[in-house]
C-alpha cells in the first residue's frame, strides 16, 4: 500500500467517520519497501492539493521517514522555472528534484505488511502482501 493511498483512508467504521482521531490510520509493525514506478509530474501536481499534509507528516514520522517538507509545496515549486523561454509547452516543463522526491515518497514507498490502527476506536486492519483488509466484523458494522 502506497503512502499516497494511506492519505485517503480513514477507519471504515461509520461511527469513526466524523471523528478527527480516525484519520490518518496509524501504521504498526510496518514493513516498508520501495517499488519503482512510472514518474508523472502532472499526476503529482494534480494530486498535491488533495493530500492532507499534516496527516502525511504525522504518518511519515511514525514510519521513520524524514524526507517530508514541513509545509505542502506550492504548485510553482514543482517545475523548474529558471529556464525562462517563451513558448515552452506546459508538458515540456522540467520537474524539480522536489517533485521527484514527492513521487518517491508518495508512490514508490509502500507498506508490504503490517497493521493500520484507528486512533479513535483502536481497531486494527491487517496489510498482507501490500493489500489492506478493511472488512469489519458484524458487531462493528
Amino acid at each position: 500500500m502506497k503512502i499516497l493511498t494511506l492519505n485517503f483512508l480513514t477507519c471504515a467504521r461509520k461511527t469513526c467517520k466524523s471523528s478527527p482521531a480516525a484519520f490518518p490510520l496509524h501504521p504498526r509493525d510496518a514493513e516498508l519497501e520501495i517499488v519503482e514506478t512510472e514518474f508523472n509530474a502532472l499526476f503529482i501536481q494534480n494530486i498535491l492539493p488533495r493530500v492532507e499534509w499534516d496527516a502525511l507528516k504525522g504518518l511519515c514520522t511514525e514510519l521513520g521517514l524524514t524526507n517530508v517538507p514541513p509545509e505542502a509545496p506550492e504548485p510553482k515549486e514543482l517545475f523548474d522555472t529558471s529556464i525562462k523561454s517563451a513558448g515552452i509547452d506546459e508538458k515540456e516543463k522540467e520537474p524539480t528534484q522536489l517533485t521527484r522526491d514527492l513521487h518517491n515518497l508518495l508512490l514508490e514507498t509502500t507498506i508490504q505488511s503490517g497493521k493500520l490502527v484507528c486512533g479513535n476506536c483502536g481497531h486494527e486492519y491487517a496489510i498482507k502482501e501490500g493489500i489492506a483488509n478493511f472488512l469489519l466484523p458484524s458487531h462493528m458494522v
Binding site: 500500500m1 502506497k2 499516497l4 493511498t5 492519505n7 485517503f8 483512508l9 480513514t10 477507519c11 471504515a12 467504521r13 461509520k14 467517520k17 484519520f23 514506478t37 512510472e38 514518474f39 508523472n40 502532472l42 499526476f43 501536481q45 494534480n46 494530486i47 488533495r50 492532507e52 508512490l107 486494527e124 486492519y125 502482501e129 501490500g130 493489500i131 489492506a132 483488509n133 478493511f134 472488512l135 469489519l136 466484523p137 458484524s138 458487531h139 462493528m140 458494522v141
Partner: protein, 439 residues
C-alpha cells in the same frame, strides 16, 4: 468546417455519447449536424483539422474521421456539391499520390461499378500517382443504403484524416488477458466506459467493485491512475503469479495501478473528501455474483466473539459475516459516495441492468449533486443493461440528510426480496425450466 465521423455499427446508443464525452474532455467545440443511430456516418462541425484528429484519437466506437468534400442523395447532387464545397481545395492535392475507395453501407458493389463511380470524379483533375498502399491522401466515397434498397440514401465524398483508437480493443481482449473472472467487462465496453468517465493523464480514478480490474486497466490505457476495492479479497489477491497486479504487468501499465484493498462500499475506508477525478464501476447485479454487504441477515452478532480468550476478528483467516443487500439501495449508495468524493466536473460511469419488458420500472437513480450526462443501452436477448454517466456539479454541497436512502435501505432477509432484477431473472428461468416458456 464539416467533418464526417465514421462509426462502427455496434453499441449504437453509446456512439454519440462517447464522441461528446471526448469533445468535452479535449475542450473541442463539437456541433453534431446530422446523426442517426441506424447509420454509421455522422456529420459534425469542428474548428480545425487538428481538432478532428484530437477528437477521434482515443475514440473506440468511431472508426475514423474525414473531411467532407461533398454530400448528396444522388451522384448528380454529390458532384454539384463537391464543386461548390471543395473546389478551392483541389489544387492543394493535385500532385500528391492518392487513392480512391468506394465503400457501401448495407450494399455490395461490383468492381466494375466501383470503377465507374471513381472515374466519375475525374474532373477533380488529380495528376499525382495512384497508389494502393501508403498514399499521401486517401479519398472515400461512402454510399449509404437502407437495408435491401437499391437506390442510395446518402452519398459522401471525403478526404481521410485519421483513424480512431479502436485497434486497442484486440490488445486488451479478455481472451488474451491472463487473469479474468466470469463477470469481467469486455475490453471494448471497458474502454468506452473509461472514455465516458474521461480518464486521462494525471487523474485519479476509483473502482469500488474492482474484481479483476477491467476498468482500471482501461483507464490506465488512457493515462489515468486508479485505486480499486472489492468486498472479495480473493479477486484482488488472486494467485502469486496471476492476480490483479499481473494484469497491469501484462500490458506494461504497472505505474498506473495505485492500490487495491478489500472493503465494502457501505463501510468504505476512503476519506469522504473531494479527491477523485472519476469513478467507474459495474456493481454486482446479484445474479451471477452475490450482492452482499457487511453484517448479518438477522441482525445478530452484535457482540464481539472470542475464541480461546482472543478476539475472533483479529485472528488469521477470519471471515466477516455478510448479508444480501438491495440493488436499488446500492445504486443510491454509489451516487451518494460519488457526490462526496468526486471533484467538480468529476465523472461517475456506472452500469446497471434492467429487464427488457419493464424498461420503465427500473428508475434511473438521481442525486442533487450529480447531473446525468448520458444514458446508453446495451440490449441482450432477455434483458439489457445501461451505462449511466454522471457529472459532479460544482458549488452544490451534499445535503446531510441524503445518507438515509430514499428507498428501502436493504433490510429484507432474502436476496430475491431485495433485488427485483434478480427475482425477474430467476422467475424467468423457472418458467423456461417448467416448459411454460420456450426459447
Amino acid at each position: 468546417m464539416d467533418y464526417l465521423v465514421r462509426f462502427v455499427q455496434v453499441h449504437e446508443s453509446f456512439r454519440r455519447a462517447e464522441l461528446e464525452a471526448l469533445a468535452d474532455l479535449h475542450n473541442i467545440k463539437l456541433d453534431v449536424v446530422n446523426y442517426q443511430s441506424n447509420y454509421p456516418y455522422c456529420l459534425v462541425r469542428l474548428q480545425s483539422e487538428a481538432a478532428a484528429r484530437l477528437l477521434i484519437s482515443r475514440s473506440i466506437l468511431g472508426q475514423g474521421i474525414y473531411e467532407l468534400w461533398g454530400i448528396g442523395t444522388s451522384y448528380e447532387e454529390l458532384h454539384e456539391d463537391v464543386r461548390r464545397r471543395s473546389g478551392h481545395k483541389w489544387s492543394e492535392f493535385r500532385t500528391c499520390s492518392f487513392r480512391f475507395s468506394v465503400v457501401g453501407f448495407q450494399y455490395k458493389m461490383k468492381t466494375s461499378e466501383q470503377r465507374k463511380i471513381i472515374e466519375s470524379f475525374s474532373y477533380l483533375d488529380f495528376e499525382g500517382p495512384i497508389v494502393m498502399a501508403n498514399a499521401d491522401t486517401e479519398f472515400f466515397v461512402f454510399q449509404e443504403h437502407d437495408l435491401s434498397v437499391e437506390i442510395p440514401r446518402m452519398l459522401y465524398l471525403c478526404r481521410f484524416i485519421a483513424n480512431s483508437d479502436r485497434d486497442v480493443i484486440t490488445k486488451y481482449d479478455l481472451k488474451k488477458r491472463h487473469y479474468i473472472s466470469t463477470t469481467s467487462m469486455d475490453s471494448e465496453l471497458a474502454l468506452v466506459t473509461a472514455n465516458m468517465a474521461q480518464a486521462a493523464p494525471g487523474k485519479m480514478f476509483f473502482d469500488p467493485f474492482v474484481g479483476t480490474g477491467s476498468f482500471p486497466i482501461a483507464c490506465a490505457h488512457f493515462g489515468a491512475r486508479s485505486i480499486g476495492s472489492d468486498i472479495d479479497g480473493r479477486s484482488i489477491r488472486g494467485k502469486p503469479t496471476c492476480n490483479l497486479m499481473s494484469n497491469f504487468t501484462q500490458y506494461a501499465l504497472t505505474g498506473r495501478w495505485l492500490d487495491g484493498f478489500v472493503s465494502d462500499l457501505t463501510n468504505t475506508p476512503l476519506r469522504l473528501d473531494r479527491v477523485l477525478d472519476g469513478i467507474v464501476c459495474d456493481p454486482p447485479y446479484g445474479v451471477r455474483e452475490g450482492l452482499k454487504v457487511l453484517g448479518t441477515k438477522d441482525g445478530s452478532g452484535t457482540e464481539a466473539v472470542y475464541i480461546d480468550g482472543k478476539l475472533a476478528h483479529l485472528q488469521e483467516g477470519y471471515i466477516p459475516p455478510k448479508r444480501p443487500y438491495s440493488f436499488e439501495a446500492m445504486l443510491d449508495d454509489i451516487l451518494d459516495f460519488a457526490a462526496r468524493t468526486l471533484v467538480d466536473s468529476g465523472r461517475l460511469a456506472m452500469w446497471m441492468p434492467t429487464a427488457n419488458d419493464e424498461d420503465v420500472e427500473f428508475a434511473i437513480p438521481t442525486h442533487e449533486c450529480l447531473e446525468i450526462v448520458s444514458i446508453c443501452v446495451q440490449p441482450f436477448n432477455k434483458w439489457s443493461r445501461r451505462l449511466l454517466t454522471y457529472r459532479r456539479l460544482g458549488g452544490v454541497a451534499v445535503p446531510a440528510a441524503t445518507k438515509t436512502s430514499k428507498r428501502s435501505n436493504g433490510t429484507g432477509i432474502h436476496a430475491d426480496d431485495l433485488n427485483s432484477f434478480r427475482k425477474k431473472v430467476r422467475d424467468c428461468a423457472a418458467l423456461y425450466s417448467n416448459g411454460i416458456l420456450t426459447r
